[in-house]
Symmetry: C2
Subunit: 271 residues, 2 copies
Protein backbone atom coordinates (compact mmCIF):
# COMPACT_ATOMS: atom_id res chain seq x y z
CA UNK A 1 0.00 0.00 0.00
CA UNK A 2 2.34 2.79 -1.10
CA UNK A 3 -0.61 5.23 -0.80
CA UNK A 4 -0.46 5.44 2.97
CA UNK A 5 3.33 5.16 3.25
CA UNK A 6 3.90 8.69 4.45
CA UNK A 7 1.16 8.93 7.07
CA UNK A 8 2.79 9.54 10.45
CA UNK A 9 1.45 7.69 13.47
CA UNK A 10 2.03 9.52 16.76
CA UNK A 11 1.08 7.91 20.06
CA UNK A 12 2.79 10.06 22.69
CA UNK A 13 1.86 13.40 24.21
CA UNK A 14 5.58 14.06 24.51
CA UNK A 15 6.04 14.10 20.75
CA UNK A 16 7.25 17.53 19.60
CA UNK A 17 4.46 17.97 17.03
CA UNK A 18 1.80 17.21 19.66
CA UNK A 19 3.38 19.61 22.13
CA UNK A 20 3.41 22.29 19.44
CA UNK A 21 -0.27 21.74 18.62
CA UNK A 22 -1.15 22.01 22.30
CA UNK A 23 0.81 25.26 22.56
CA UNK A 24 -1.25 26.78 19.74
CA UNK A 25 -4.26 26.89 22.09
CA UNK A 26 -2.60 29.97 23.59
CA UNK A 27 -2.37 33.31 21.84
CA UNK A 28 1.24 33.97 22.94
CA UNK A 29 2.45 30.78 21.23
CA UNK A 30 0.33 31.44 18.16
CA UNK A 31 2.07 34.81 17.81
CA UNK A 32 5.49 33.25 18.42
CA UNK A 33 5.00 30.38 15.97
CA UNK A 34 2.82 32.39 13.55
CA UNK A 35 0.42 29.46 13.31
CA UNK A 36 -3.05 28.49 14.56
CA UNK A 37 -5.41 25.54 14.79
CA UNK A 38 -8.51 24.78 12.76
CA UNK A 39 -10.82 21.96 13.68
CA UNK A 40 -13.70 19.94 12.23
CA UNK A 41 -14.15 18.33 8.81
CA UNK A 42 -15.95 21.28 7.21
CA UNK A 43 -13.42 23.92 8.28
CA UNK A 44 -10.32 21.83 7.48
CA UNK A 45 -11.84 20.98 4.11
CA UNK A 46 -12.50 24.67 3.35
CA UNK A 47 -8.88 25.45 4.29
CA UNK A 48 -7.55 22.70 1.99
CA UNK A 49 -9.67 24.07 -0.86
CA UNK A 50 -8.72 27.72 -0.33
CA UNK A 51 -5.39 28.13 1.45
CA UNK A 52 -3.75 24.70 1.22
CA UNK A 53 -0.29 26.27 1.00
CA UNK A 54 -0.65 27.54 4.58
CA UNK A 55 -1.50 24.12 6.07
CA UNK A 56 1.40 22.56 7.92
CA UNK A 57 -0.28 19.32 8.92
CA UNK A 58 -3.64 17.61 9.21
CA UNK A 59 -4.36 15.31 12.17
CA UNK A 60 -6.96 12.53 12.21
CA UNK A 61 -8.00 10.47 15.22
CA UNK A 62 -8.22 6.74 14.52
CA UNK A 63 -12.04 6.81 14.71
CA UNK A 64 -12.24 9.84 12.40
CA UNK A 65 -10.31 7.92 9.71
CA UNK A 66 -13.12 5.35 9.70
CA UNK A 67 -15.91 7.91 10.01
CA UNK A 68 -14.68 10.41 7.41
CA UNK A 69 -13.06 7.91 5.05
CA UNK A 70 -13.73 9.94 1.93
CA UNK A 71 -12.21 13.08 3.43
CA UNK A 72 -9.22 11.05 4.67
CA UNK A 73 -8.69 9.77 1.11
CA UNK A 74 -8.73 13.35 -0.14
CA UNK A 75 -5.99 14.19 2.36
CA UNK A 76 -3.92 11.17 1.28
CA UNK A 77 -4.19 12.30 -2.33
CA UNK A 78 -3.06 15.82 -1.42
CA UNK A 79 -0.18 14.31 0.56
CA UNK A 80 0.90 12.14 -2.37
CA UNK A 81 0.70 15.03 -4.81
CA UNK A 82 2.82 17.12 -2.45
CA UNK A 83 0.05 19.66 -1.80
CA UNK A 84 -0.21 18.65 1.86
CA UNK A 85 3.01 18.56 3.87
CA UNK A 86 2.13 16.19 6.70
CA UNK A 87 -0.74 13.84 7.56
CA UNK A 88 -0.80 12.52 11.12
CA UNK A 89 -2.81 9.78 12.79
CA UNK A 90 -3.28 9.73 16.57
CA UNK A 91 -5.22 7.65 19.15
CA UNK A 92 -8.43 9.24 20.55
CA UNK A 93 -6.71 10.13 23.84
CA UNK A 94 -4.07 12.19 22.07
CA UNK A 95 -6.70 13.83 19.90
CA UNK A 96 -8.72 14.88 22.94
CA UNK A 97 -5.52 16.33 24.37
CA UNK A 98 -4.91 18.61 21.36
CA UNK A 99 -8.56 19.34 20.53
CA UNK A 100 -9.93 22.86 21.02
CA UNK A 101 -13.51 21.61 21.57
CA UNK A 102 -15.25 19.50 24.20
CA UNK A 103 -16.89 17.29 21.55
CA UNK A 104 -14.12 16.73 18.96
CA UNK A 105 -14.90 15.35 15.49
CA UNK A 106 -11.38 13.97 15.28
CA UNK A 107 -10.03 16.19 12.49
CA UNK A 108 -7.72 19.14 13.12
CA UNK A 109 -5.05 21.05 11.24
CA UNK A 110 -2.27 23.52 11.85
CA UNK A 111 -2.22 26.57 9.54
CA UNK A 112 0.34 29.32 9.20
CA UNK A 113 -0.97 32.85 9.65
CA UNK A 114 -2.19 34.30 6.37
CA UNK A 115 -3.35 37.77 7.37
CA UNK A 116 -2.33 40.68 5.15
CA UNK A 117 -0.94 44.18 5.61
CA UNK A 118 -3.02 47.33 5.12
CA UNK A 119 -1.75 47.68 1.54
CA UNK A 120 -4.20 44.91 0.61
CA UNK A 121 -6.84 47.69 0.73
CA UNK A 122 -5.54 48.71 -2.71
CA UNK A 123 -7.40 45.74 -4.10
CA UNK A 124 -10.71 46.29 -2.35
CA UNK A 125 -13.60 48.73 -2.51
CA UNK A 126 -15.72 47.36 0.33
CA UNK A 127 -14.06 46.83 3.67
CA UNK A 128 -15.46 45.76 7.05
CA UNK A 129 -13.65 47.27 10.06
CA UNK A 130 -14.17 45.57 13.42
CA UNK A 131 -13.51 47.54 16.58
CA UNK A 132 -13.49 46.12 20.11
CA UNK A 133 -15.63 43.04 19.49
CA UNK A 134 -14.48 40.83 22.34
CA UNK A 135 -16.80 37.85 22.11
CA UNK A 136 -15.21 35.19 19.85
CA UNK A 137 -18.61 33.81 18.78
CA UNK A 138 -19.74 37.30 17.73
CA UNK A 139 -16.55 37.95 15.74
CA UNK A 140 -16.84 34.59 13.97
CA UNK A 141 -20.50 35.25 13.16
CA UNK A 142 -19.66 38.71 11.77
CA UNK A 143 -16.89 37.27 9.55
CA UNK A 144 -19.33 34.62 8.27
CA UNK A 145 -21.90 37.34 7.50
CA UNK A 146 -19.35 39.55 5.75
CA UNK A 147 -18.44 36.59 3.57
CA UNK A 148 -22.11 35.74 2.86
CA UNK A 149 -22.84 39.30 1.78
CA UNK A 150 -19.92 39.56 -0.61
CA UNK A 151 -17.34 41.51 1.39
CA UNK A 152 -13.81 40.47 0.58
CA UNK A 153 -11.76 42.27 3.21
CA UNK A 154 -11.95 42.53 7.00
CA UNK A 155 -9.77 44.71 9.20
CA UNK A 156 -9.74 44.03 12.96
CA UNK A 157 -8.44 46.72 15.29
CA UNK A 158 -6.27 46.39 18.38
CA UNK A 159 -8.56 45.41 21.25
CA UNK A 160 -10.67 43.03 19.17
CA UNK A 161 -10.49 39.31 19.97
CA UNK A 162 -7.83 37.41 17.98
CA UNK A 163 -9.09 36.26 14.57
CA UNK A 164 -7.05 33.07 15.07
CA UNK A 165 -8.76 32.23 18.39
CA UNK A 166 -10.19 28.69 17.94
CA UNK A 167 -13.72 29.83 18.84
CA UNK A 168 -13.59 32.62 16.24
CA UNK A 169 -12.35 30.19 13.60
CA UNK A 170 -15.08 27.71 14.53
CA UNK A 171 -17.99 30.13 14.43
CA UNK A 172 -16.74 31.70 11.19
CA UNK A 173 -17.34 28.26 9.63
CA UNK A 174 -14.60 28.46 7.03
CA UNK A 175 -15.26 32.07 6.02
CA UNK A 176 -11.80 33.21 7.19
CA UNK A 177 -10.42 31.33 4.19
CA UNK A 178 -12.55 33.28 1.71
CA UNK A 179 -11.67 36.77 2.77
CA UNK A 180 -8.56 38.99 3.08
CA UNK A 181 -7.91 39.66 6.76
CA UNK A 182 -5.87 42.53 8.20
CA UNK A 183 -5.48 41.96 11.91
CA UNK A 184 -4.85 43.91 15.12
CA UNK A 185 -4.37 47.16 13.27
CA UNK A 186 -3.79 50.50 14.97
CA UNK A 187 -6.74 52.87 14.62
CA UNK A 188 -4.65 55.88 13.53
CA UNK A 189 -2.86 53.87 10.88
CA UNK A 190 -6.12 52.56 9.50
CA UNK A 191 -7.73 56.02 9.40
CA UNK A 192 -4.67 57.35 7.58
CA UNK A 193 -4.83 54.55 5.02
CA UNK A 194 -8.57 55.00 4.45
CA UNK A 195 -8.07 58.73 3.87
CA UNK A 196 -5.17 58.16 1.50
CA UNK A 197 -7.08 55.61 -0.52
CA UNK A 198 -10.25 57.71 -0.51
CA UNK A 199 -12.60 55.34 1.25
CA UNK A 200 -15.91 56.72 2.51
CA UNK A 201 -16.23 55.85 6.21
CA UNK A 202 -19.57 54.59 7.56
CA UNK A 203 -20.28 54.06 11.23
CA UNK A 204 -23.37 52.55 12.80
CA UNK A 205 -24.71 54.28 15.88
CA UNK A 206 -28.13 54.56 17.53
CA UNK A 207 -27.66 58.34 17.08
CA UNK A 208 -27.04 58.04 13.34
CA UNK A 209 -28.95 60.39 11.01
CA UNK A 210 -29.22 58.09 7.98
CA UNK A 211 -31.45 55.01 8.02
CA UNK A 212 -29.26 52.17 6.70
CA UNK A 213 -32.11 51.05 4.42
CA UNK A 214 -32.05 54.37 2.56
CA UNK A 215 -28.25 54.84 2.38
CA UNK A 216 -26.89 55.46 -1.10
CA UNK A 217 -23.65 53.56 -1.07
CA UNK A 218 -20.32 55.03 -2.26
CA UNK A 219 -18.16 53.06 -4.69
CA UNK A 220 -15.43 52.71 -2.12
CA UNK A 221 -16.29 52.45 1.54
CA UNK A 222 -15.32 51.01 4.92
CA UNK A 223 -18.05 50.17 7.44
CA UNK A 224 -17.09 50.16 11.13
CA UNK A 225 -18.69 47.54 13.40
CA UNK A 226 -18.33 48.32 17.12
CA UNK A 227 -19.12 46.34 20.23
CA UNK A 228 -22.52 46.37 21.91
CA UNK A 229 -21.24 47.70 25.21
CA UNK A 230 -18.60 50.23 24.10
CA UNK A 231 -20.20 51.62 20.97
CA UNK A 232 -18.18 53.34 18.25
CA UNK A 233 -14.81 54.92 19.04
CA UNK A 234 -14.78 58.75 18.98
CA UNK A 235 -12.09 58.84 16.27
CA UNK A 236 -14.38 56.98 13.89
CA UNK A 237 -17.38 59.14 14.77
CA UNK A 238 -15.33 62.28 14.04
CA UNK A 239 -14.08 60.96 10.71
CA UNK A 240 -17.34 59.37 9.59
CA UNK A 241 -18.64 60.23 6.12
CA UNK A 242 -22.05 58.92 7.16
CA UNK A 243 -23.55 57.93 10.51
CA UNK A 244 -26.13 55.27 9.92
CA UNK A 245 -28.72 53.66 12.19
CA UNK A 246 -31.00 50.65 12.06
CA UNK A 247 -34.61 51.71 12.48
CA UNK A 248 -36.30 49.78 15.28
CA UNK A 249 -40.04 50.38 15.39
CA UNK A 250 -40.53 48.08 18.42
CA UNK A 251 -39.78 48.33 22.13
CA UNK A 252 -36.28 46.80 22.44
CA UNK A 253 -33.72 49.60 22.66
CA UNK A 254 -30.83 47.79 21.07
CA UNK A 255 -29.73 44.67 19.23
CA UNK A 256 -27.10 42.05 19.95
CA UNK A 257 -23.77 43.19 18.36
CA UNK A 258 -23.56 40.33 15.85
CA UNK A 259 -27.19 40.83 14.84
CA UNK A 260 -26.76 44.59 14.33
CA UNK A 261 -23.62 43.92 12.26
CA UNK A 262 -25.46 41.31 10.20
CA UNK A 263 -28.26 43.70 9.31
CA UNK A 264 -25.82 46.44 8.33
CA UNK A 265 -23.74 44.08 6.16
CA UNK A 266 -26.94 42.72 4.65
CA UNK A 267 -28.07 46.23 3.67
CA UNK A 268 -24.62 47.01 2.23
CA UNK A 269 -24.40 43.75 0.28
CA UNK A 270 -23.63 43.86 -3.43
CA UNK A 271 -26.98 44.19 -5.10
CA UNK B 1 -37.30 53.73 59.51
CA UNK B 2 -40.77 52.40 58.65
CA UNK B 3 -39.74 52.37 54.96
CA UNK B 4 -37.61 49.27 55.25
CA UNK B 5 -39.79 47.51 57.81
CA UNK B 6 -41.02 44.82 55.54
CA UNK B 7 -37.74 43.87 53.90
CA UNK B 8 -37.00 40.25 54.74
CA UNK B 9 -33.45 39.26 55.63
CA UNK B 10 -32.64 35.64 54.87
CA UNK B 11 -29.29 34.15 55.86
CA UNK B 12 -29.76 30.39 55.48
CA UNK B 13 -29.70 28.15 52.43
CA UNK B 14 -32.25 25.99 54.24
CA UNK B 15 -34.87 28.73 54.14
CA UNK B 16 -37.89 27.60 52.10
CA UNK B 17 -37.82 30.65 49.79
CA UNK B 18 -34.14 30.06 49.00
CA UNK B 19 -34.74 26.37 48.34
CA UNK B 20 -37.60 27.31 46.00
CA UNK B 21 -35.43 29.80 44.06
CA UNK B 22 -32.72 27.16 43.67
CA UNK B 23 -35.31 24.67 42.37
CA UNK B 24 -36.35 27.12 39.64
CA UNK B 25 -32.99 26.54 37.91
CA UNK B 26 -34.53 23.28 36.69
CA UNK B 27 -37.24 23.09 34.06
CA UNK B 28 -39.20 20.37 35.87
CA UNK B 29 -39.65 22.58 38.94
CA UNK B 30 -40.42 25.64 36.81
CA UNK B 31 -43.26 23.66 35.23
CA UNK B 32 -44.46 22.39 38.63
CA UNK B 33 -44.35 25.80 40.33
CA UNK B 34 -45.29 27.76 37.18
CA UNK B 35 -42.57 30.28 37.96
CA UNK B 36 -39.08 31.22 36.70
CA UNK B 37 -36.09 33.38 37.57
CA UNK B 38 -34.96 36.65 36.08
CA UNK B 39 -31.63 38.18 36.92
CA UNK B 40 -29.75 41.47 36.59
CA UNK B 41 -30.84 45.06 37.23
CA UNK B 42 -31.95 45.80 33.67
CA UNK B 43 -34.11 42.69 33.27
CA UNK B 44 -35.71 42.89 36.74
CA UNK B 45 -36.41 46.57 36.15
CA UNK B 46 -38.07 45.82 32.79
CA UNK B 47 -40.21 43.18 34.51
CA UNK B 48 -41.26 45.61 37.26
CA UNK B 49 -42.24 48.17 34.61
CA UNK B 50 -44.13 45.73 32.39
CA UNK B 51 -45.41 42.70 34.29
CA UNK B 52 -45.10 43.68 37.96
CA UNK B 53 -48.19 41.64 38.86
CA UNK B 54 -46.34 38.43 37.98
CA UNK B 55 -43.35 39.14 40.26
CA UNK B 56 -43.41 37.12 43.43
CA UNK B 57 -40.28 38.49 45.04
CA UNK B 58 -37.13 40.47 44.33
CA UNK B 59 -33.84 39.46 45.97
CA UNK B 60 -30.87 41.79 46.55
CA UNK B 61 -27.44 40.78 47.79
CA UNK B 62 -26.07 43.09 50.50
CA UNK B 63 -23.48 44.54 48.11
CA UNK B 64 -26.09 45.14 45.42
CA UNK B 65 -28.16 47.25 47.84
CA UNK B 66 -25.18 49.61 48.09
CA UNK B 67 -24.30 49.45 44.41
CA UNK B 68 -27.81 49.85 42.97
CA UNK B 69 -29.21 52.11 45.70
CA UNK B 70 -31.59 53.95 43.39
CA UNK B 71 -33.05 50.73 42.04
CA UNK B 72 -33.35 49.36 45.59
CA UNK B 73 -35.31 52.49 46.57
CA UNK B 74 -37.64 51.91 43.62
CA UNK B 75 -38.28 48.38 44.91
CA UNK B 76 -38.95 49.66 48.44
CA UNK B 77 -41.48 52.13 47.05
CA UNK B 78 -43.21 49.37 45.10
CA UNK B 79 -43.23 47.22 48.23
CA UNK B 80 -44.75 50.01 50.31
CA UNK B 81 -47.41 50.72 47.71
CA UNK B 82 -48.30 47.03 47.62
CA UNK B 83 -47.21 46.61 43.99
CA UNK B 84 -44.35 44.30 44.95
CA UNK B 85 -45.18 41.37 47.20
CA UNK B 86 -41.81 40.57 48.77
CA UNK B 87 -38.37 42.16 48.91
CA UNK B 88 -35.56 39.97 50.24
CA UNK B 89 -32.00 40.75 51.30
CA UNK B 90 -29.37 37.99 51.42
CA UNK B 91 -25.60 37.74 52.06
CA UNK B 92 -23.34 37.33 48.99
CA UNK B 93 -22.85 33.60 49.66
CA UNK B 94 -26.58 32.94 49.52
CA UNK B 95 -26.91 35.08 46.40
CA UNK B 96 -24.20 33.10 44.63
CA UNK B 97 -26.08 29.93 45.60
CA UNK B 98 -29.33 31.05 43.92
CA UNK B 99 -27.77 32.96 41.02
CA UNK B 100 -28.13 31.63 37.47
CA UNK B 101 -24.89 33.30 36.30
CA UNK B 102 -21.23 32.93 37.12
CA UNK B 103 -20.79 36.69 37.57
CA UNK B 104 -23.93 37.76 39.46
CA UNK B 105 -24.92 41.44 39.73
CA UNK B 106 -26.75 40.68 42.99
CA UNK B 107 -30.32 41.30 41.82
CA UNK B 108 -32.75 38.51 40.99
CA UNK B 109 -36.50 37.98 40.96
CA UNK B 110 -39.05 35.20 40.80
CA UNK B 111 -41.84 35.67 38.24
CA UNK B 112 -44.95 33.61 37.65
CA UNK B 113 -45.40 32.26 34.12
CA UNK B 114 -47.25 34.73 31.90
CA UNK B 115 -47.41 32.93 28.58
CA UNK B 116 -50.71 32.95 26.71
CA UNK B 117 -52.90 30.44 24.88
CA UNK B 118 -53.21 30.32 21.08
CA UNK B 119 -56.39 32.43 21.23
CA UNK B 120 -54.14 35.46 21.80
CA UNK B 121 -53.56 35.28 18.02
CA UNK B 122 -56.96 36.95 17.69
CA UNK B 123 -55.27 40.18 18.72
CA UNK B 124 -52.26 40.00 16.41
CA UNK B 125 -51.56 40.30 12.71
CA UNK B 126 -47.82 39.61 12.75
CA UNK B 127 -46.63 36.49 14.51
CA UNK B 128 -43.16 34.92 14.82
CA UNK B 129 -43.19 31.11 15.04
CA UNK B 130 -40.04 29.45 16.37
CA UNK B 131 -39.41 25.81 15.55
CA UNK B 132 -36.64 23.65 17.02
CA UNK B 133 -34.25 26.43 18.04
CA UNK B 134 -32.28 24.66 20.76
CA UNK B 135 -29.59 27.16 21.64
CA UNK B 136 -30.84 29.42 24.47
CA UNK B 137 -28.66 32.36 23.35
CA UNK B 138 -30.09 32.13 19.83
CA UNK B 139 -33.69 32.01 21.09
CA UNK B 140 -33.11 35.02 23.37
CA UNK B 141 -31.49 36.95 20.52
CA UNK B 142 -34.42 36.15 18.20
CA UNK B 143 -36.96 37.32 20.82
CA UNK B 144 -34.98 40.56 21.27
CA UNK B 145 -34.97 41.10 17.49
CA UNK B 146 -38.68 40.37 17.15
CA UNK B 147 -39.31 42.99 19.83
CA UNK B 148 -36.96 45.52 18.16
CA UNK B 149 -38.72 45.13 14.82
CA UNK B 150 -42.22 45.61 16.19
CA UNK B 151 -43.54 42.05 16.43
CA UNK B 152 -45.90 41.61 19.35
CA UNK B 153 -46.41 37.86 19.45
CA UNK B 154 -44.08 34.84 19.49
CA UNK B 155 -45.13 31.21 19.36
CA UNK B 156 -42.54 28.57 20.26
CA UNK B 157 -43.17 24.99 19.20
CA UNK B 158 -42.56 21.75 21.08
CA UNK B 159 -38.86 20.93 20.72
CA UNK B 160 -37.70 24.53 21.09
CA UNK B 161 -35.69 25.43 24.18
CA UNK B 162 -37.81 26.70 27.11
CA UNK B 163 -38.57 30.43 26.91
CA UNK B 164 -38.19 30.55 30.70
CA UNK B 165 -34.66 29.06 30.62
CA UNK B 166 -32.43 31.60 32.47
CA UNK B 167 -30.07 31.91 29.48
CA UNK B 168 -32.96 32.68 27.12
CA UNK B 169 -34.33 35.28 29.54
CA UNK B 170 -30.87 36.83 29.90
CA UNK B 171 -30.08 37.11 26.20
CA UNK B 172 -33.60 38.41 25.43
CA UNK B 173 -32.65 41.44 27.61
CA UNK B 174 -36.15 42.21 28.88
CA UNK B 175 -37.91 41.67 25.55
CA UNK B 176 -39.96 38.75 26.90
CA UNK B 177 -41.87 41.34 28.94
CA UNK B 178 -42.85 43.35 25.85
CA UNK B 179 -44.33 40.59 23.76
CA UNK B 180 -47.14 38.01 23.97
CA UNK B 181 -45.62 34.55 24.21
CA UNK B 182 -47.34 31.27 23.38
CA UNK B 183 -45.08 28.45 24.42
CA UNK B 184 -44.39 24.80 23.58
CA UNK B 185 -47.27 24.60 21.16
CA UNK B 186 -48.08 21.55 19.06
CA UNK B 187 -47.40 22.07 15.37
CA UNK B 188 -50.78 20.68 14.20
CA UNK B 189 -52.68 22.86 16.62
CA UNK B 190 -50.80 25.95 15.49
CA UNK B 191 -51.33 25.22 11.79
CA UNK B 192 -55.05 24.70 12.44
CA UNK B 193 -55.26 28.04 14.30
CA UNK B 194 -53.35 29.91 11.59
CA UNK B 195 -55.68 28.50 8.92
CA UNK B 196 -58.80 29.35 10.92
CA UNK B 197 -57.64 32.89 11.55
CA UNK B 198 -56.48 33.33 7.95
CA UNK B 199 -52.81 34.01 8.53
CA UNK B 200 -50.49 33.86 5.53
CA UNK B 201 -47.63 31.48 6.36
CA UNK B 202 -44.06 32.43 5.42
CA UNK B 203 -41.11 30.10 5.75
CA UNK B 204 -37.44 30.88 5.19
CA UNK B 205 -35.44 28.27 3.31
CA UNK B 206 -32.31 28.36 1.12
CA UNK B 207 -34.56 26.83 -1.56
CA UNK B 208 -37.13 29.64 -1.33
CA UNK B 209 -38.33 31.26 -4.56
CA UNK B 210 -39.00 34.78 -3.20
CA UNK B 211 -36.16 37.08 -2.17
CA UNK B 212 -37.14 38.41 1.28
CA UNK B 213 -36.18 41.93 0.19
CA UNK B 214 -38.83 41.90 -2.55
CA UNK B 215 -41.63 40.18 -0.62
CA UNK B 216 -44.94 42.03 -0.60
CA UNK B 217 -46.20 41.42 2.89
CA UNK B 218 -49.75 40.27 3.68
CA UNK B 219 -51.79 42.11 6.31
CA UNK B 220 -51.88 39.04 8.52
CA UNK B 221 -48.95 36.67 8.54
CA UNK B 222 -46.88 34.23 10.58
CA UNK B 223 -43.18 33.82 9.82
CA UNK B 224 -41.55 30.50 10.77
CA UNK B 225 -37.96 30.56 12.05
CA UNK B 226 -36.26 27.15 12.03
CA UNK B 227 -32.95 25.92 13.39
CA UNK B 228 -29.72 26.05 11.42
CA UNK B 229 -29.12 22.31 11.51
CA UNK B 230 -32.64 20.93 11.07
CA UNK B 231 -34.14 23.46 8.68
CA UNK B 232 -37.88 24.00 8.31
CA UNK B 233 -40.31 21.22 9.22
CA UNK B 234 -42.03 19.56 6.24
CA UNK B 235 -45.51 20.47 7.57
CA UNK B 236 -44.63 24.16 7.37
CA UNK B 237 -43.08 23.82 3.92
CA UNK B 238 -46.26 22.11 2.67
CA UNK B 239 -48.54 24.76 4.13
CA UNK B 240 -46.39 27.77 3.26
CA UNK B 241 -48.02 30.68 1.46
CA UNK B 242 -44.58 31.93 0.48
CA UNK B 243 -41.11 30.39 0.65
CA UNK B 244 -38.57 33.15 1.10
CA UNK B 245 -34.80 33.20 0.97
CA UNK B 246 -32.05 35.64 1.91
CA UNK B 247 -29.88 36.41 -1.10
CA UNK B 248 -26.20 35.84 -0.36
CA UNK B 249 -23.93 37.12 -3.12
CA UNK B 250 -20.75 35.97 -1.31
CA UNK B 251 -19.07 32.63 -0.69
CA UNK B 252 -20.49 31.52 2.68
CA UNK B 253 -23.25 28.98 2.09
CA UNK B 254 -25.35 29.76 5.12
CA UNK B 255 -25.85 32.08 8.06
CA UNK B 256 -26.00 31.51 11.80
CA UNK B 257 -29.65 30.80 12.80
CA UNK B 258 -30.07 33.93 14.93
CA UNK B 259 -28.53 36.10 12.20
CA UNK B 260 -30.78 34.66 9.49
CA UNK B 261 -33.81 35.20 11.73
CA UNK B 262 -32.72 38.77 12.46
CA UNK B 263 -32.48 39.65 8.77
CA UNK B 264 -35.89 38.15 8.03
CA UNK B 265 -37.55 39.96 10.94
CA UNK B 266 -35.79 43.17 9.90
CA UNK B 267 -37.18 42.88 6.36
CA UNK B 268 -40.66 42.15 7.73
CA UNK B 269 -40.59 45.03 10.24
CA UNK B 270 -43.41 47.52 10.26
CA UNK B 271 -42.41 50.18 7.79
Amino acid sequence: MPKSRRIEVITSKENESIKRLKKLHEKKYREELKAFLIEGVKVVNEALDNVSETINLVVFSQEAIQKYGEFFDKCINLLNSGKLRRLVQVPEKIFEHISTTTTPQGVLAECSFFDKGLDVLNHHNRVVVIDCVQDPGNLGTIIRCADAFGFECIVTLDGTVDVYNPKVVRSAMGSIFHIDIVRETKKEELLETLREKRFALYVTTPHGNVDISTLSVDNRFAIVIGSESRGIDAAFLENATKKVKISMPGKAESLNAAVAAAIVLYELRKK
